[in-house]
């Protein structure tokens, strides 16, 4: 399953936000990859996510494969739309 996401929090995908993605991934069996400008990285690696370098406004594509992917996608969407729980 694929979805498009936009980074809307002020600080972008910095360590704390990337950490929350990794944290989320741990709760599911499905595998997550994130893609920006044809660069695709492992969504369970905080360092890989950081290297994507996503400031506010970046559009990225998430691919989730696995049995519990529908649920994980919803949670991932929430995470992005809640700006990772950060004040905007």
């Amino acid at each position: 399953m694929q979805i498009n996401l936009t980074v809307t929090n002020k600080l972008g995908l910095h360590a704390r936000a990337a950490g929350k993605i990794v944290e989320l991934g741990k709760q599911y069996q499905s595998k997550l990859t994130l893609k920006k400008n044809n660069i695709e990285v492992d969504g369970s690696s905080i360092l890989s996510i950081l290297t994507l370098s996503c400031p506010k406004g970046t559009k990225i594509q998430a691919t989730i494969t696995g049995e519990d992917s529908p649920e994980m996608i919803e949670k991932l969407k929430d995470l992005f739309s809640n700006k990772f729980g950060e004040p905007s």
């Binding site: 972008g12 360590a15 990794v22 369970s44 905080i46």
Partner: protein, 594 residues
């Protein structure tokens, strides 16, 4: 005893940050680079063994991080997420899997393989344009260091676990480390990094133990258990002192402690010179909690409240309400005495990760202090509004840092007008007669002093920066640090000029750099006409004592003589001799050692 004689005495000099003498065994905190062995693996057993060693080290590291997180003192609880991200890095395939693959494929030892993984990550991070994200390589380095130390079989301990009265030596200490030391039993600490005014140095002073920073490579030369003398007055470290030195410092330490307690007892006496001139001595503070702690030193108010703390400590920018509460409490507590609140002086050596500031080649000359505030006006306005609102609760004055000319003052005044009009329209009360002052710390402000005086209520001379900018030296640069000379004739003439201008213009003038905490500087500063000082609270008892032993008339004559001298060295010698005459006990007790 015999052990001590066997080793050679070694002297190292750094920058004295917090006064006093400590004698004790050193505990080297391995925040420094772990040693890496480069080893080729010659058989499968060795390969298996290295993979296992690496996995064990990962487990140990994980346990350490979890323990650290669970034992975080309340004051730094908010930093918990840093540990969480370290735990994630620890489990990150870019670091761990790649290291294991290297051990297997390249047949190299675990340390070497890990180091290569780090370098690979570093290269990728170097290409990231976003400065904030690329600087996260520091976290990867931190985690790697921890693993490397665990691979070496040594354990890296939390500073809070130090229960013995030891001297802590470290390559560098973060503000969090400094807090941990606070709850340990350390009797002194020394670091390779840092300058007199670096953030952890300033924090360290509140610990009231001797601290020397900027020792460059001291920790590499020290071994756990080495006997050490830390002279927080002069910045000197003596490793494995010979018997004579050991005995000398033991005596000085005892004498200084006794002297300190005597002069602290007399600290409540006003600072009046021998010929009857009243001098005002205030304290510099960094956090609101200090307001209570400094009472023992009886300052006549707060001459400088540095406000960076709230911006550096939290992982988000403080809200106006948080700032207001902080400023209100400090102002109320110190009332009816004066408090000078300095607006944000971020930049240079104090960087907040909340402000995504671009990396600058020369931060001391870059976007810092008032420049940053006038660029990021929302941040500035929030702070100013909070300060102005707090003025309702005592005698609050505001100081703006790094002013270089009139334009900045005009810009600031516009903002102040906006804020006060807004507050008035919302019927929020504040002191409508707040006094506004500026730091004189940029050489251009010295030259423009007469004009600047027309626009402000007072000057506060910041010598830490003034010396660095006037003498064109980077005080963090060890190669030129010797040129950081408060006694340089140019510096004394600049201060003299500013004081004269302020007096002619009938506006207030005070000095708030480290300089006025130096016993030798006081007679000179009195002699050139200064009557108001603000310094680290711990220095107050001694400085007051010196003021009470000085005649202003003589100090003025001395200053006339000093103006005729050509070099910092001559001036220092002149005043040293005067001081020996003025207060012989200072020399006897080793305060004038250098």
């Amino acid at each position: 005893m015999t052990k001590r004689q066997n080793k050679n005495q070694l002297k190292l000099t750094g920058i004295a940050v917090s006064s006093g003498i400590a004698i004790g065994k050193v505990r080297v905190i391995e925040r420094t680079k772990a040693r890496i062995t480069y080893q080729y693996l010659i058989n499968n057993d060795q390969i298996k063994q290295n993979v296992q060693r690496f996995k064990d080290a990962l487990n140990t590291t994980e346990n350490q991080l979890i323990t650290l997180k669970n034992h975080m003192p309340d004051i730094i609880k908010e930093h918990g997420f840093i540990i969480d991200s370290h735990l994630m890095i620890l489990k990150d395939s870019m670091l761990t899997e790649s290291t294991i693959n290297r051990i297997l494929d390249e047949k190299i030892g675990a340390e070497w393989a890990l180091k290569q993984s780090l370098e690979e990550i570093r290269q990728i991070f170097n290409q990231i344009e976003d400065e904030y994200i690329s600087s996260r390589i520091n976290d990867v380095e931190n985690v790697t260091e921890r693993i490397l130390w665990n691979l070496s079989g040594e354990t890296q301990e939390s500073l809070t676990n130090i229960k013995d009265p030891v001297i802590i030596a470290a390559h560098d200490l973060s503000p969090a480390d400094t807090t941990e030391i606070n709850i340990s039993k350390a009797i002194a600490f020394i670091t390779d990094m840092g300058g007199r005014t670096s953030h952890s140095a300033i924090m360290a002073q509140s610990l009231q133990i001797p601290v020397v920073v900027g020792l460059e490579s001291a920790t590499k030369q020290l071994k756990d258990g080495d006997l050490l003398i830390v002279n927080g007055n002069t910045g000197e470290i003596i490793v494995n002192p010979d018997n004579n030195t050991f005995i000398y410092y033991q005596e000085k330490k005892k004498e200084q402690e006794e002297y300190k307690s005597t002069i602290t007892k007399s600290s409540h006496l006003p600072a009046i010179t021998l010929d009857g001139h009243k001098i005002t001595v205030r304290a510099n503070i960094e956090f609101k909690e200090e307001v209570v702690a400094i009472r023992n030193f009886t300052p006549e108010g707060i001459g400088l409240y540095r406000t960076e703390y709230l911006y550096l400590w939290n992982n988000k920018l403080p809200s106006e309400e948080e700032l207001f509460e902080d400023y209100r409490k400090v102002t109320e507590t110190i009332s009816p005495a004066i408090i000078n609140i300095r607006t944000l002086d971020l930049g240079a050596d104090k960087i907040s990760s909340n402000l995504r500031m671009p990396k600058e080649k020369n931060p001391a000359l870059g976007l810092r202090a008032i420049r940053l505030c006038l660029k990021e006006q929302q941040i500035f306005k929030n702070q100013l509004r909070a300060i102005i609102r707090a003025s309702n609760y005592g005698r609050l004055q505001i100081i703006f840092p790094m002013i270089s000319g009139i334009q900045e003052i005009l810009d600031i005044k516009d903002i102040i007008t906006q804020i006060t009009e807004e507050l008035t329209s919302k019927k929020i009360t504040f002191d409508s007669n707040i006094k506004y002052g500026i730091m004189i710390e940029v050489p251009s402000a010295v030259i423009m002093a007469e004009d600047l005086a027309k626009h402000v209520d007072f000057f506060s001379i910041g010598t830490n920066d003034l010396i660095q900018y006037a003498l064109a030296i980077d005080r963090e640069n060890k190669n030129v640090a010797y040129m950081y000379q408060p006694f340089h004739p140019a510096i004394l003439r600049m201060i003299h000029h500013v004081v004269k201008v302020a007096k002619d213009a009938r506006i207030g003038v005070s000095l708030c750099g480290e300089m006025c905490g130096d016993p030798l500087c006081i007679p000179i500063l009195l002699g050139l006409g200064l009557k108001e000082f603000s310094m680290h609270a711990m220095a107050i008892p001694l400085i007051k004592k010196i003021i009470r032993s000085t005649s202003l008339k003589e100090a003025t004559t001395d200053f006339d003589n000093i103006l005729k001298l050509d070099t910092a060295k001559e001036i220092r010698l002149y005043i040293l001799n005067r001081m020996k005459h003025l207060l012989p006990e200072l020399q006897e007790k080793g305060y004038l050692d250098h």
